[in-house]
Amino acid sequence: MAEDVLTPITQAMNEGALSRRELKRLMRRSNVPGLVHLAFWMLAMIGTGFLVWLSMGSWWIIPAMFVHGILMVHHFSLQHECVHYTAFRTRWLNEIIGNYCGIVIMLPNKFFRYEHCDHHTYTQLTGKDPELIELPIGLADYLRYISSFPYWKAKFSELGRHAAGRLSESERRFIPKEEHKAVFWEARAMAALYAAILLASAWADWWGAVWYWWLPVFMGEPVMRAIRMTEHVGRPNIRDMKENTRTNLVTTPMRLLCWNMNYHAEHHYASSVPFHALPKLHKKLEGYIFVENRGYLGAHIDIISQIIGRAPRSDS
């Protein structure tokens, strides 16, 4: 039934927390904030890349690659904004930058777009939300998730499956059939590009891609996993966006790094609002959505409290 189709602003409209006009004003897109943000963010990444270069040949390379990796894995935040087409006003800019980010972190852009659309439609609903991260059953499970091994295992299997022209049952549900072939070719192109870079590196005997890109991404991914956990893990598995998502108040550098995606409850409440308008939406929704004032650390204290039984489990 057409009436059942929820859009990213359905709940906000139904509850009247914002008028349609207010929401549409917040939804306005612009190229300027995204391009300025991108320029500073790239400069920061060049800076951390320079640290890796400086520390070559010493043990300092390990912390340097870790710091560089933290910035590198935040390509996810920009790609996330691009799949919503809200990073920039110009649609093809979102496509190009989104695909670039996807290549950096091995997350094919078109596939992620459709997966992420379904995540917004079925946020936190067990068995339906394709991005749902279950509340870990114990501390070992919690650490295993943060280690990123399960994440990379899933991502490599996903890429292989799509490159082979196959989809899982749940992927068949959320990828429109008109786009199946495009998703397969996207995975093949990505796999071919990685293979070409590897071969070119071996031929030239220059391993910059490993030192400045792949190793830092693998080293930084646990930080991204820990951040991703703070968005929904430990929140109830219900449809209400005011309850199922957590906003984390974090420091300005972290906010810049994640393209304001710490305002996650606001983002889920009205996901068509661009990153640069989320602080305004945050003010409008003050007291209405769930906010963790202690930031990412507070969110993990909450998650661990639930895991060790000091607080009731959100999934019980």
Binding site: V5, K24, H84, E179
Partner: protein
């Protein structure tokens, strides 16, 4: 028996979202009224791909983006412009008379 089409009042221009898409009901029909750079256009409001109401989507004066999967339509012609939208929108002939948007409909 064929039903004849006639011009029917839909919504006052003053009640439209300026430069945006406005949801309007006409009987059981859900319509979208677009205040485009080339004038006012009207279509059935549901996306031809996933049936989401297009009025909840982003409109730039020319193209309406589906809020659900970001498929794209030209609001002036109904043409599908970006995947996953492939089938064009059903447009309804519209005109503005005495400050009222009217549609030619049975």
């Amino acid at each position: 028996m064929t039903r004849t089409r006639q011009w029917r009042d839909l919504v006052a221009i003053a009640d439209l979202e300026p430069g945006d898409a406005t949801p309007v009901s006409l009987g059981t029909r859900e319509l979208a009224v677009y205040d485009t750079v080339d004038g006012v256009f009207v279509s059935f409001a549901r996306c031809t791909h996933g049936a989401a109401n297009l009025c909840d989507g982003y409109f730039d004066g020319r193209y309406i983006e589906c809020p659900l999967h970001q498929g794209l339509f030209d609001a002036r012609t109904g043409e599908a412009k970006a995947a996953p939208a492939t089938r064009k929108l059903r447009m309804i002939e519209a005109r503005v008379k005495d400050g009222i948007v009217q549609v030619l409909i049975s």
